[in-house]
């Protein structure tokens, strides 16, 4: 996904996250989860995978089990707990919610990995220039703060003013470094502003530097994405995908529109995987010709 134009990948991820949240139909949720997992398998390392699973699985279990305990809607009781029916419908709803939460987390992670801060700034820099300025200066300040904080901490330690004895000591010592850092950074900020002004910031006729161009491959990717997205929206908007959990589980009738909607959403969810596979294959092919 990183090879696409930022506007395209931004729209794609936001659309995926919103569709997953809004279309609460088990088929759609499952496609989002499967597509998300395939995508996730590509962009994470083994260590990240372990960490993520260690977070997603307990969360999914919690969400699945919490719903039947709190919600007693539904017509098929499985068993009774403290006189309240634990129903099949509530259980399925819990499982779907769990799948949905994990899918949304995975797609959000894909978004974070792909639409990095530089791309975000590129996208919104022309619409919200002042906001973008604040964000990019703050982004540059963060690593600087880290080094400065270490220097201040070393200095405080060497004069014997930094204490880690108790929680309060630790807190107060850290606060001392923090406000020293604040003083330094704010004075520095005024200097940054002066220097920027000195170099002609805000003069007329300047153009922002952009590293991204809308290329042919972006257009080639945009057409099927837009088509799938409009098909899903048409199907969801007409109610063809509306699933109801209560009182009984009812899948909407499998009309042509609903089937097209499922297929389009499935393609949409698998898009990053298809793209990645295509790129990998082309790379292998190019290597094999050397």
């Amino acid at each position: 996904m990183t090879i696409l134009h930022p506007a395209l990948s931004f729209t794609y991820y936001i659309a995926m996250i919103l569709l997953t949240c809004f279309v609460r139909n088990p088929v759609v949720t499952l496609s989002a989860l499967v597509g998300g997992l395939c995508h996730w398998a590509f962009f994470t390392t083994a260590k990240e995978k372990r960490e993520d699973l260690g977070f997603y699985l307990p969360l999914a279990a919690l969400v699945t089990l919490a719903n039947p305990v709190f919600s007693h809607n539904g017509k098929t009781p499985l068993f009774f707990l403290n006189g309240n029916a634990v129903t099949k419908e509530a259980f399925v709803f819990g499982a779907c919610s769990a799948a949905l939460v994990v899918a949304v987390l995975i797609w959000s992670k894909g978004y974070s990995k792909t639409v990095t801060s530089d791309k975000f700034l590129y996208l919104f820099g022309s619409v919200l220039p002042k906001t973008a300025l604040i964000l990019s200066v703050a982004l540059r300040y963060l690593p600087m703060l880290r080094t400065e904080a270490h220097k201040l901490k070393d200095a405080q330690k060497s004069v014997g003013l930094y204490s880690k004895g108790s929680l309060t000591d630790n807190f107060l010592s850290s606060c001392k470094i923090y406000y020293a850092l604040a003083g330094r950074t704010l004075e520095n900020a005024v200097g940054t502003a002066d220097s920027m002004r000195g170099r002609g910031w805000g003069q007329r006729g300047r153009v922002p530097f952009a590293r991204y161009r809308f290329r042919k491959r972006d257009a080639v990717a945009a057409v099927p994405l837009a088509l799938c997205l409009s098909l899903v929206l048409a199907a969801a908007g007409s109610g063809a995908l509306t699933f109801s959990f209560y009182p009984g589980l009812t899948l909407p009738p499998l009309s042509p529109l609903a089937l097209t909607g499922y297929a389009a959403f499935g393609l949409l969810a698998m898009f990053p995987t298809i793209l990645q596979t295509e790129v990998d294959l082309r790379w292998r092919f190019l290597q094999s010709r050397l």
Binding site: R24, F70, S71, V104, P129, T131, L135, Y141, C175, T185
Partner: protein, 234 residues
């Protein structure tokens, strides 16, 4: 000041309730999702565009950026104390010394920026709205909060709880697809520990940082003549 107050009143008393009523009556199935996202968007987008339209000195913009970086970067200093994050306290202090708009920008940008490191998600607009509004209202109460340390501490504790309640709401609606009171209550009870840490850490940070950071912000304001927003520059 009056115009700004009017705008915010219109937004809070007219636009957001209208969206809420429309969302609750017209869109049946996904009404809570639409409702909550609309409210979050309405509490972020108009503020950003108003901020863009107003004149700001470059120094002011860079100072806000520095406060954003400080609020987010403060985490590294307090990593040993889980849950103790100076973001809210710094947002409130910025608002108290630089005014409601600067408070709003610092809060919402700090949320956005820290999520670039800790992961963006559907919670981003809610965090931006929550922290932004914490700053905005602190800015509206600027004079009183600057004078009274106890009031500042009360504000810090209150917004710590409020922040938790807003994010629990987002969590409930996100997981259930609707606002289910029982689930909301369960989430609130489960997160009670975090809520307490938010409130306590906000108060602790405000009590310790108010004087030194306040002095720095005041000095910067006086030294570089940044008291007024209305200055002729971009």
């Amino acid at each position: 000041m009056n115009k700004r107050l009017l705008l915010s009143l219109v937004l809070f008393l007219v636009a957001i309730p209208t969206a809420a009523v429309l969302g609750l009556t017209v869109l049946k199935n996904v009404r809570w999702l639409v409702w909550s996202l609309t409210v979050a968007a309405l509490s972020v987008i108009p503020f950003l565009f108003t901020f863009e339209r107003r004149r700001h000195t470059l120094t002011r913009l860079i100072l806000i950026a520095a406060m954003v970086a400080l609020s987010v970067g403060g985490r590294i200093l307090f990593y040993a104390m889980p849950g103790f994050k100076p973001i809210t306290a710094m947002v409130i202090l910025t608002a108290v010394y630089f005014g409601p708009e600067a408070g709003y920008m610092t809060g919402s940008m700090a949320a956005l920026l820290s999520n670039f490191y800790f992961g963006q998600g559907p919670w981003t607009p809610f965090q931006m709205a929550a922290w932004g509004l914490i700053g905005f209202f602190a800015g509206l109460l600027q004079k009183r909060l600057r004078k009274s340390l106890p009031l500042l501490a009360v504000y810090g504790a209150a917004v710590g709880v409020l922040y938790s309640l807003i994010l629990n709401f987002e969590h409930t609606v996100g997981v259930m697809g609707a606002f289910v009171p029982a689930e909301y209550a369960a989430v609130t009870v489960a997160s009670l520990g975090f809520t307490a840490i938010y409130a306590v850490s906000n108060v602790a940070f405000l009590l310790v940082l108010k004087k030194p950071v306040g002095k720095i912000l005041e000095r910067v304001t006086v030294k570089y003549g940044l008291g007024k927003t209305e200055e002729t520059e971009t």
